[in-house]
Amino acid sequence: MKRMVTLALVLLAPSLALGQEEILPSQESLRAGPVGASSRDWTLEFNGGRFRPRIDEEPGLTGSPYNDIFGKKSMWLFEGELDYKLFDLLGPFSLGLAGGYGVVWGRGIASSDGQPAPDTTTLSTVPLRLLAVYRFQWFNEAFGIPLVPFVKAGLAHTIWWITNGTGGVAGFGEGKALGGKWGYQLSGGLAFELNILDREAARDFDQQWGVNSVLLQVQYARLTADNFGGAGIDLSDDAWLFGLAFEF
């Protein structure tokens, strides 16, 4: 696990350093002493998971198109999120922006026999979210328990498109398989602070790059993209997301 922490620190340090004015330890960080005691205004997260949009549950459908084309496959979703702390209330209350990419591949269906054809078809999504995030750090601060429960809620806009066998955006009559759907995200999760596994490496990481702590986290999220119950394709689902968070 120590190796994992070190690896994570090494891999992600350069990206975290971008945009910082200096890589030397801040005065605040040097004064702070104990690991994680310096200010933590930002949190950067990388999350991933799988979800299966509820396309086949759309009212009026006579079949199950998602299942016909993609079978039991779920979409892969990867996303990044940047949160900015607004105030503390037994933990930071932050405002975050998240963006991701999800995709699933399948085979088209031949008109001649209804069997899978060699042509590929894909469904892709780019979910964008404005989130309110609260991390309850009291357990950690009061008792040193490295667990941080958190909740998120926010507005989502999911851009989606479908490609056909030529790789272009699919169409049907006047309709183009490209659009955006409004929705929301509600999620709750638990983060485990990895600093406890190697405090020395964590201190170095803080002093070198200003990253106070690294957290391994899991969350269960309701991601909706159906124009709040409107007509059309429903890209919503509940999903488990796993990832890493960096506080700095």
Binding site: G60, T62, S111, D119, L155, G165, A170, F172, G179, I233
Partner: protein, 378 residues
């Protein structure tokens, strides 16, 4: 005495040469001019073609020369060697130029089924004089070499394993040798063009079929990643591209054409057979074993055969021909719409809730930021 003088000479070289050359980025470079292939094929040889090679030396104070050698590069050109650049003293600005290497220098007789190589050698060095004995020896300081080939050995004929019709396309799977630079599919229509009109959901969609435009550029779409190569221009109308007509059937996949690639072409060389092929599609990745011919007409039967071409431009005999018929394929969106899906795309301006929530969210953000600023001031 000799050992001592040799040692002195070596020390002198070791000390002096770096001093004269160290101010430069000291290199000897040999490279084919961009776009040149590394070898000559038989046709190049017979046509007495040349290849352009760029040479450069940045060792001021040394003597530099470029020559051809049939074996590994020696320190000095052997007797009778072809001198590409005679020995010259390298000045402060170095020496650079472009040499034209003739095919006949690599293999004079242009034989069949032969592979031979020759090396282009660039050498920089010094004449070292024995301070005691007065003898002079040639000391090489640096060198570079480039291999040129004569290759008249064609790749083996590929084997088309499968042809499957997709939407306006035929997907090919094949087997073939490893010494292939690109694959060339030769295809032609079999029978009349379809008059049927397809339906969006099984009956009635306006056909998306594309008539081949004789002037267009066909581009490879190899699944193996060879999508970056321009297609080939057509080579003229073909009376017989080696695919026997078997009109009337549709929906087949991988049916063997009656005459394969040899119909009426038994006496033609592969290059001549390809030249008579009106419709061609190239797959630029020689390591690919599958790819798709695109922009075809749905429900039109095609015969397809495949050639392999190596880096020297040698063309294999064609594979046996197979037939396939492109067909309508429902992508996910078509499937969804055909099954009653209401989504027509667009970015949800009608989504009143979302458009209302967005400004509200913006106001909330501003309020929270203001609160943070207020608390910070306190």
């Amino acid at each position: 005495m000799n050992m001592r003088s040799g040692l002195l000479a070596a020390i002198a070289l070791a000390v002096l040469v770096p001093q004269t050359a160290s101010a430069q980025t000291s290199t000897i470079t040999l490279a084919f001019v961009e776009g040149e292939k590394t070898g000559f094929n038989q046709a190049d040889c017979k046509a007495k073609k040349t290849k352009s090679v760029r040479y450069e030396c940045n060792y001021p104070g040394t003597e530099f020369m470029v020559f051809l050698s049939s074996g590994s590069c020696p320190d000095e050109p052997p007797d009778g060697a072809v001198m590409v650049r005679n020995k010259v003293t390298v000045g402060a600005d170095g020496v650079a130029g472009v040499a034209e290497i003739k095919a006949e220098d690599v293999n004079e007789d242009c034989p069949d089924d032969t592979t031979s190589t020759i090396r282009l050698c660039a050498v920089a060095g010094f004449k070292s004089t024995n301070v005691y004995g007065g003898s002079t020896t040639w000391q090489v300081y640096d060198r570079s070499e480039l291999t040129l080939t004569y290759d008249s050995e064609p790749p083996s004929a590929p084997k088309l394993a499968e042809t499957v019709g997709g939407e306006n396309s035929i997907h090919l799977t094949w087997e073939g040798g490893s010494d292939v630079d690109q694959w060339i599919a030769c295809y032609e229509k079999i029978g009349e063009a379809p008059s049927a009109v397809e339906d969006a959901c099984g009956a009635g969609r306006e056909t998306s079929a594309l008539e081949e435009d004789p002037g267009r550029d066909y581009r490879g779409a190899s699944d193996g990643g060879g999508e970056d190569d321009a297609g080939v221009e057509e080579t003229g109308e073909s009376e017989d591209a080696g695919v026997a007509e078997d009109a009337g059937e549709t929906g087949d996949a991988g049916e063997t054409a009656d005459a394969g690639g040899e119909s009426g072409s038994g006496t033609l060389s592969p290059a001549e057979q390809l030249a008579t092929c009106a419709l061609q599609f190239r797959f630029a990745d020689g390591s690919a074993r599958k790819g798709a011919i695109t922009k075809l007409v749905n429900n039109q039967k095609y015969g397809v055969k495949l050639f392999a071409m190596d880096a020297a431009g040698n063309l294999s005999p064609p594979s046996a021909a197979l037939t396939a018929t492109p067909q309508q394929v429902y992508d996910f969106y078509e499937r969804y719409r055909c099954q009653g899906g209401a989504e027509e795309g667009g970015f949800g301006c009608s989504a009143g809730a979302g458009m209302t929530l967005l400004p509200l969210a913006g106001l909330a953000v501003l309020g929270l930021l203001r609160r943070r600023d207020t608390r910070s001031a306190e």
